[in-house]
Amino acid sequence: MSDSGNPEVHAEPTTFLRKWIFSVDHKIIGIQYYFLALIAVFIGLGLSVLMRLRLAWPNESWPLLEKIFPIGFDGGPMTPEFYLALMTMHGTIMVFFVLTTAPQGGFGNYFLPIQIGAHDMAFPVLNMLSFWVTFVSLGVMVAAFFVVGGAPISGWTAYAPLSALGEVAGPGLGAGQNLWIISIALFCLASLLGALNFITTVLNMRAKGMTLMKMPLTVWTWFTTAILALLSFPVLLAGGILLLLDRLGGTSFFIPGGLVVSDTIIEHSGGSPILWQHLFWFFGHPEVYIAILPGMGVASQLLSTFARKPIFGYRAMVVAIFAIGLLGFFVWGHHMFISGLSPLSALIFSVITLTIGVPSAIKTFNWLGTLWGGKIRFTTAMLYAIGFVSLFVSGGITGLFLGQTSIDVQLHDTYFPVAHFHMIMGVAALFGIFGGTYYWFPKMFGRMLNEWWGKFHFWITFIGVNAIFIPMHLMGIMGGLRRYAQSTEFKFLEPLQPYQEFVSIAAFITAAAQVIFLVNLFWSMFKGKKTSENPWESTTLEWTIPSPPPHDNFAGKIPVVHHGPYEYGVPGSPRDFVMQTDPPIDKNK
C-alpha cells in the first residue's frame, strides 16, 4: 500500500513561459511529447515516401527532387547512398521519436498520475527536463541532414565497423554519424529520467484505495515499460560512448584489424564488431517491447470500455505484461542468428523467443474474451483497438517464424523481417497511439474528434497498411533483400518489381490519408463538439474530472478508490458501469 499523501501541488503558473513552454505540469509535458512525436512521425513518413519512390522506380529521374536534394539525386535518379541515409533516419526517427515517445511520454505522462489519483508525477522538474532533452535530441538528429556528408547511412542499428570508421567509409559517416550518436545519447538520458519518474510515481503516489491490482492496465504497461527503459537504455548509452571513442578517441572497441576501406588502410585493430551487436541488441530488443506494451495497455482499456465488459482475466494480463517484459531481456540474440553465434546459444535464444509467444497469446485470447458477448460500441477508438489486436496477430505471428534459427537463416536481412517489424511496430503500435488519441482527446481538449472522419481514416489506414505489408512478407520469402536501394540488379529478383510498385502505390495512398487525421486533430481542437466529463461512460479516474482537467487534476480533492478499473455490467449497480470512485456496492441490498 503506498504512503499516500501527495507532495503539495505546485502552484498554478501565471506567465506564458511557465505555463506553456517550461511547464512542470505533467499534462502540458504529455501534450508537448505528443506534438514532438507528431512532428517526428511526419518527418519519418516523408522519408519513407522518398524511399518507396526509389524502390519502385529505381532508375527514374525526379527533376523536382533533384532541385531540393542535388547531392542525393546527383545526375537524375536517387543515389543508393541517399537511399541508405533516408532509411537510417526513417528508422531512427520512427523508433525513437515516435514509438518510444508518444505512447509513454505522451499518454503516459498525461494520464498515469490521473489514473492513479495523484496531483502530478513524483519529480515534476525532472519531467520537464526529460522533455526538453528529448526535444534537443530530435534537433541534433535532424541536424545530421544538414552537415557536410549528410545523414549517416549505417541504419538505425548503426552496426560497427561501418559506423565506427568515420568519413572514409562513406557519406554521412563523418559529422552525420557523430550527431546521430550524440542525439541518441541525449535521448538515453531523457528516457532514463522519465523512467525514474514513472516508476517512483506508481510505487509511491497512488491514492487511497488504489492498490496495485486496482490499477488500470494502461498504468501497468507504462510501469513495466519504464522498468524496461531503465534497464536497457543505459546499455545503449554504454555502446554509444564506446562507439564515439572509437570514432574520435582512436580506440578499437569495435574495429577489427586488417581493414582496408576506400583504398585506405585503417590503423585500428583488435576490436570486435560483434560486441556492438550484443550491446545494441541487448537494448534493442527491450526497446521494441517498450514500443508495443503501452499499446497493449490502451487496447485493453478500449476493448473493455467499448464492449461494456470487464477485461477478461485482469490478473493474467498483469502477469503477461511482466512476463513479456522480463523475457524480452533474454532474447536479444535472435537478431544475431547469422552473426556466428554458437548453435547452443542460438538454441537458447530461440527457445526463449518462442516462449514470449505464450504471454502474448494469453493477452490476445483475453482481448477476444473481452469482446465475446459484449455490447460493442463501434466508436473510432474501438475500431482502432480491434485493429490493434488484428495487426498484433498478423505482425506477431511472423515473429515466431523468425524466432526459429533454421528459418531465420533464410529470412534474415530480407523483406520478411522488415514486414514483420513494420506490422507490429509501424502499424499495431501506431494503432495503439491512434486509439489512445480518439479515446483521450475529449479529456485533453474538452472536445470530441469527428467520428465520421475518424472512421474513414481508420478504414483507409487499416486496408492500406495491410496492402503495404502483407505483400512485403512474400517479397521476403522470394529473396528480396533489405537495405538495398533497388531489386533490379539481380535477375532472380526481377519478379519482385511489380510487388515493389504495388507496395509503393499503397504506401502513397495510405500516407496521404494521414492528412485526414491531422486535419481532424487540429480542427477538432478548436471547433470540435464540446464534451462532458465522461463521454465514453468509462470507469477509470480520468473520467471523474472535468475535460480538460484543472491544474491539480482533482480540483483540491484526492479520490478514494473503491472498485477495480473495469467494472462494467456489474450486477446490482444502477448503471452498466461502476466508476472506480463510486461508493462500494452493498451486495445485500
Binding site: D3, S4, G5, N6, P7, E8, A122, F123, L192, A195, L196, N197, I199, T200, L203, N204, M205, K208, L230, L231, S232, F233, P234, V235, L237, A238, G239, I241, L242, L245, G249, G250, T251, S252, F253, G257, S269, G270, G271, S272, L275, H278, L279, F282, T544, G556, K557, I558, P559, V560, H562, T581, D582, P583, P584
Partner: protein, 203 residues
C-alpha cells in the same frame, strides 16, 4: 497531525487525506526510490562496459594489461575515507558536527577527482594513452565515466556544504538531499572498488 481537510465528492465516502508529516515523508520516500532506480540504471551502464571488457579481454589479441600507478591505491583510501565521513555526516546529531563532516567529505571527494587526473597524468608520462592498448582504453574509459558520475556527487556535496555553513539550522538529519547524496556517494565508492578489481585483478 497537521491539517486534515475533509470534503466529499460522492456522499460521505470520499475523504481528502493530507497532513504535513505525510507530505514530507512522501517526498523523502520519492527521493529514496528515485535514487535507487538511478543507481540501478548506472549499474546497467557499467554492466554494458563490463561485458565489453570481458569480451575484449577474451578475444582481443592486442590486450596488454597495464600496471596501476601506485598513487591509485592512495586515492582509493581517500575515497573510502570520504564514504566514512559522509556517513558520519548523515548520522550527525548536531548541526556543527554535520557541517564539519560534510565539508571534509566534499574536500576528500575533490581530492579524489584531482588524484584521478594525476593518475592519468602519470600514465601519459609513461606513454600510455586512451588509444593503442585495449586495456588502457578501458582504464581511461572506466575511470573517466566513474569520475564524471562522482563529479555529479561532488556538486551535490558542494550544495550541502554551502547550506550547512550558511543555513545550519535548516539542515537536519532528516534532510532528503543529505541522505540521498550519501546513498549515491556510497554507491560511487563501491563502484570504484568493483572497477579496481575488474581492471587490475581480473585482466
Amino acid at each position: 497531525m497537521g491539517s486534515s481537510l475533509v470534503s466529499s465528492k460522492e456522499g460521505d465516502q470520499a475523504s481528502y487525506y493530507s497532513n504535513e508529516g505525510g507530505v514530507t515523508q512522501s517526498r523523502k520516500r520519492n527521493s529514496r526510490i528515485g535514487m535507487w532506480l538511478a543507481l540501478a540504471s548506472i549499474s546497467m551502464m557499467f554492466t554494458g562496459f563490463t561485458s565489453a571488457y570481458i569480451l575484449g579481454r577474451g578475444t582481443n589479441n592486442l590486450w596488454q594489461p597495464i600496471n596501476p600507478p601506485n598513487y591509485l591505491w592512495i586515492n582509493t583510501l581517500v575515497l573510502l575515507a570520504s564514504s566514512l565521513t559522509v556517513e558520519l555526516g548523515r548520522r550527525a546529531t548536531k548541526a556543527s558536527e554535520l557541517k564539519y563532516w560534510i565539508t571534509v567529505t566534499c574536500l576528500l571527494g575533490i581530492t579524489f577527482l584531482a588524484g584521478q587526473l594525476w593518475t592519468w597524468n602519470l600514465l601519459v608520462n609513461q606513454g600510455i594513452y586512451l588509444a593503442g592498448n585495449p586495456h588502457s582504453s578501458f582504464f581511461y574509459l572506466l575511470t573517466g565515466v566513474h569520475g564524471l558520475h562522482l563529479f555529479g556527487g561532488i556538486l551535490a556535496l558542494l550544495y550541502l556544504t554551502v547550506r550547512s555553513w550558511l543555513f545550519s539550522s535548516t539542515l537536519t538529519q532528516e534532510n532528503t538531499v543529505l541522505s540521498t547524496t550519501a546513498l549515491y556517494w556510497h554507491f560511487m565508492d563501491g563502484l570504484w572498488i568493483y572497477l579496481l578489481i575488474l581492471l587490475f585483478f581480473w585482466r
